[in-house]
């Protein structure tokens, strides 16, 4: 069983090869971390999976369906959701409204001009679930733009969760956060993975987060796959140590 099967994708921007022949298999319920130095092509790799742009070569199969050139909306409808390195939210709306827009979109109500009682109840329940899961229930009425960085990130994840995704893609979920906020977001990801068995692929720079959370780790350098394995295997891999610590002269 495979949730995500990336087969030798390459992305070229002009003469620059940002990602070269990278493959990755993610099993259902797995938490996969993608690491690598800056400029390793991690976000480019992510953007191909989520449909931001198609690969130059290679194929991507999601849950048995080839999605290589499928538009974003269709991928979302298949159960793929993502967050961004720089938090993408609806800043001038409240947390509740942010989540509500996701729920209504996921339930296929986004073009409705009227909600019946049953739909309204389903929407309320969806909002409540996402807020409770991310610990934002007490902040539902606050404008997202006025929240702390960590809470904004949680709101973005909450909005992504409203889609009930079968694959959740998180691009540097703890980027730019302090100790305390990093811990809170890492805990949230752990809960999603352990308690709700979400399949998650994340890019992360914080090695404590990566080695504590991930089932498997994919290491990219200069657009190429350097290593893949369990946290223990990656920690002992000499090539990875070299890439991160520099050559031992």
């Amino acid at each position: 069983m495979t949730m995500l099967d990336v087969r030798g994708v390459t992305k070229q921007f002009g003469s620059l090869v940002a990602v070269s022949e990278v493959s990755m298999l993610v099993a259902p319920g797995e938490l996969r971390a993608i690491i690598g130095p800056n400029g390793a092509g991690k976000t480019t790799f992510f953007n191909m999976i989520s449909g931001f742009f198609p690969p130059t070569r290679g194929e991507i199969v999601f849950d048995g369906t080839t999605i290589t050139r499928m538009p974003v909306a269709a991928r979302v409808a298949m159960g793929m959701a993502r967050t961004f390195q720089i938090t993408e939210i609806f800043p001038e709306l409240t947390v509740g409204q942010n989540v509500r827009i996701g729920v209504e979109s996921a339930l296929g109500l986004r073009q409705r001009v009227w909600l019946g009682g049953r739909d309204a109840a389903a929407v309320r329940q969806g909002i409540e679930e996402a807020l409770v899961m991310t610990g934002l229930a007490s902040k539902a009425g606050r404008l997202v733009g006025e929240l702390s960085h960590g809470d904004q990130r949680a709101a973005e994840i909450a909005t992504a969760l409203t889609l009930k995704p079968r694959l959740l893609l998180l691009d540097e979920p703890t980027a730019g956060m302090g100790e305390h906020e990093t811990y809170a977001v890492a805990n949230l990801i752990r809960r999603l993975h352990r308690n709700s068995s979400y399949t998650i692929v994340l890019i992360e720079h914080d090695m404590r987060v990566v080695f504590n959370l991930a089932d498997k780790i994919t290491v990219l350098t200069e657009g190429k796959l350097l290593a893949e394995g369990t946290p223990a295997e990656i920690a002992d891999n000499p090539a990875v140590q070299e890439a991160y610590l520099g050559k031992a002269e």
């Binding site: 979302v76 827009i101 986004r110 073009q111 309320r124």
Partner: protein, 326 residues
């Protein structure tokens, strides 16, 4: 979900329901108080018509986040649709309004299909281009539209309600209340639309297109829908304008009017539901008052606009209502 820990509002903040109550209170009593402050009912009628145009335009600008500098095209098409219907089809006011909405709304719907893939400045520029095409057609098609002189030779017809007839043709106050009923229905529909899931989808596009796209929202389709609806309501305002003046002219399609509609919406507050109406009221009154003294009235409007944008970037009503009260 009942935890609505709202942001503390400033002491002078106008709640949206209070704004609505004040607006309706003032509009319903216009014939009683306007003469006392030196106005006349036809002036209030102009405020209603331009206010409806600006509020309709604002569905696109304020609530979908897309700029159009060509909305006069749909306003003008609405006016010509109504005028031509009264002149050549039948002496029926409702039919005239319907024809105006159909002409402007369909033009907007078809044109919208072509432009929804453009964004920002490019979107705005093609709306100007289409507006000017519509302007030159009206300007040159002498035999149908009357060309530069405009379309004359029609008058609004009394409304037959079955049990009684409302003489909107000769009674200014009856006509004002007729406009107010149409205005009320139109802004009521706009309000319902904005409070619905569809309205929130538009807000999502305004707030963050990338996030909206990755929630599975088809952006182009919704901008197109918003554009079409906005054009249809603007055309309704245009058809009322033709009824108000018993006249339709090419300047009703000109981009300078498009600019005035933008100014009304921004000056009044494009994030506030009633903002564009406030902007339209200020614009129409200043125009009426100052144009009786100088032909350069537009420079005064421009000065007021600059001051408002500098000191109240959220517009007059936006400032009164405070943040987050949409």
């Amino acid at each position: 979900m009942s935890a609505t820990t709202a942001v503390p509002a400033p002491a002078l903040s106008l709640r949206p329901w209070l704004t609505a109550a004040i607006v309706w209170g003032l509009l319903l009593t216009v014939p009683f108080w306007l003469p006392l402050v030196g106005g006349y009912t036809a002036l209030a009628a102009r405020v209603l018509v331009m206010g409806l145009a600006a509020m309709s335009f604002n569905l696109l600008l304020g609530f979908t986040g897309q700029m159009s500098f060509g909305h006069a095209a749909y306003f003008g098409l609405g006016a010509y649709g109504a005028g031509l219907s009264l002149k050549y089809l039948a002496a029926s006011t409702p039919l005239a309004m319907l024809m105006g909405v159909l002409l402007g709304g369909l033009a907007g719907t078809l044109f919208g299909l072509l432009i929804v893939r453009r964004r920002g400045v490019y979107f705005a520029m093609v709306t100007v281009a289409f507006g000017q095409i519509a302007f030159y057609i009206a300007y040159s098609w002498n035999s149908l539209t009357g060309g530069y002189d405009g379309l004359r030779g029609f008058v609004r017809a009394p409304i037959n309600l079955g049990f009684t007839t409302v003489d909107i043709a000769n009674n200014d106050i009856a006509f004002y209340y007729f406009l107010l009923v149409v205005f009320g229905i139109a802004v009521g529909l706009l309000g319902l639309l904005l409070a619905s899931p569809f309205g929130r989808t538009l807000l999502a596009i305004r707030e963050n297109e990338r996030r909206a796209r990755f929630l599975g929202i088809p952006i182009e389709r919704h901008i197109w829908l918003s554009f079409s609806i906005s054009c249809a309501f603007t055309a309704l305002a245009g058809s009322l304008y033709a009824l108000l003046n018993n006249f339709a002219d090419p300047m009703g399609l000109h981009y300078s009017l498009s600019g005035e509609i933008v100014i009304m919406a921004v000056m009044g507050g494009m994030r506030a539901f009633w903002g564009p109406l406030v902007g339209a009221a200020l614009f129409v009154v200043v125009q009426d008052y100052i144009s009786s003294m100088t032909v350069n009235w537009m420079s005064f409007v421009g000065l007021i606009f600059v001051l408002v944008v500098l000191f109240f970037p959220r517009g007059l009503l936006g400032m009164l209502q405070g943040r987050g009260s949409q």
